[in-house]
Symmetry: C2
Subunit: 245 residues, 2 copies
DNA sequence: ACGTCTTACGCTGAACGTAACGATT
DNA sequence: AATCGTTACGTTCAGCGTAAGACGT
């Protein structure tokens, strides 16, 4: 069992759906099926009942949930404990990645770093920084920094569930932002009006309020305040962690 | 992080040695180095100081140990909880495998099954059993039983640390036992006297008491009451889990 | 039709063993 | 020389995505 399996299980338990979990975490749903099966095989117990309406936890599944949440919490606590305030290194990261990695994937803990949220453009034009870690979509060619493996942030065009058709497409002002680039490319090939906004919080609020649509991380569909716009493409926005020395 | 990493870490912490951990768990020591490094990378912290005398935990390592033991305990507790007494399926398994998998690897929990310890010969000649699980070195070709993946039990010739040379080689009486087969093969090509004993507990006791040597699972070297006999070969004894239906 | 979950299948990278290395006792 | 941990390298298989299937609504 991997630690990631516990995260996947938590999503399965909370979303009652293999499909929704796969979308939210950016996996293929066949893969979530397989991970769940391997978990059930390892513990030799059925964790969910399957139906065509989704999945519902068994008694064992509910017990497993208590275990999984406790283990994830203990791991987060350990991370906090290993990196006490005074020794906390600095990290530079884009806003959406920060939300995704801390609130959602729980791969990064608030206690791991002192975070500095910067735009992709700002990160790209950075020179002579000395922070321990930089997480960004942009190329980050600096001496002393080692690129980590490529990862992907799943993204799609979202709107409020109740939204009317033909809302403006809201686009971030950050010149180097890959969400901006993909949004502009889409807009160039489809009949939509666009609107630049320079804050992600503002964009997400506007989309939630039904005032516009935007290209956003897929995990925001999780709580059903946003849904994917049918017929629009999905993306996997690549990013990398660069570590000093 | 895998659950197995926690087990490896526990051994590292308790044995203060990468080499000893590798031997005990049946891994190449380069692999233990790599697993430890990946653990340190994942949590971004050094867990052990390395020296030519072995490894000593850092402060972070000690904190990690508390976490690891708690997590392993919680997992064992979950396994117990998922398979309450009344619903416990039956498993047939060889003695040495039982000890290895329950006491040592903690892959099997006492609470998972009602165990029935049988000799390899008895398992091999079994017909018409209906137990849920059979774990054995032998081929087990029965309708309704699905073979699982092949695993290996690392084994080597062991003696007491203080033992004198040229002790008799103790061999199990179980005709189908792969330890017996390998011991006999070794004896045929080397000048040793042999002695058949029909109980593993007796063999291990005799070896501990310095009355003989025997081919035994490698993990028994863990507590330093037994050591490997230099110049003798090591084996990886294959076994499989067969599951009903 | 559409949305569930499952199965089939090919690919890739992590995990493994072998072996060579460097350093200390 | 023996023993320790590290590095290099080739292999293998779990985990991944794509795609098709089976089943209900």
């Amino acid at each position: 069992m991997q630690l990631n399996d516990l995260e996947i299980f938590r999503q399965l338990y909370e979303l009652h759906s293999i499909n929704a979990t796969a979308r939210a975490l950016g996996f293929a749903q066949s893969n979530i099926t397989a991970r769940l099966q391997s978990l059930e095989r390892e513990f030799n117990v059925q964790l969910f009942h399957r139906s065509h309406q989704g999945i519902t936890p068994t008694k064992a599944g509910t017990e497993f949930y208590a275990y999984a949440t406790a283990a994830l919490k203990a791991t987060a606590r350990l991370r906090a404990h290993l990196h006490p305030d005074n020794a906390r290194p600095q990290a530079i990261i884009s806003t959406l990645l920060f939300n995704y990695l801390t609130s959602y994937r729980h791969v990064l803990s608030l206690q791991d770093y002192q975070y500095q949220l910067l735009s992709s453009t700002a990160i790209h034009t950075l020179t002579n920084t000395r922070v321990a870690t930089v997480i960004t979509y942009a190329q980050f060619q600096q001496p002393d920094y080692q690129p980590g493996p490529l990862h992907y942030l799943p993204a799609m065009f979202l709107r409020a569930p109740s939204a009317t058709p033909s809302l403006p497409l809201l686009i971030n002002s950050d010149q180097q932002c890959p969400f901006r680039a993909r949004s502009l490319h889409f807009a160039a090939h489809h009949p939509v009006t666009t609107q630049a906004i320079d804050s992600w919080a503002a964009i997400i609020n506007l989309v939630r309020a039904g005032q516009g649509v935007a290209l956003l991380p897929a995990y925001l569909t999780q709580d059903d305040t946003l849904t994917r716009i049918p017929g629009t493409p999905g993306y996997r926005v690549p990013y990398r962690t660069y570590t000093r020395q």
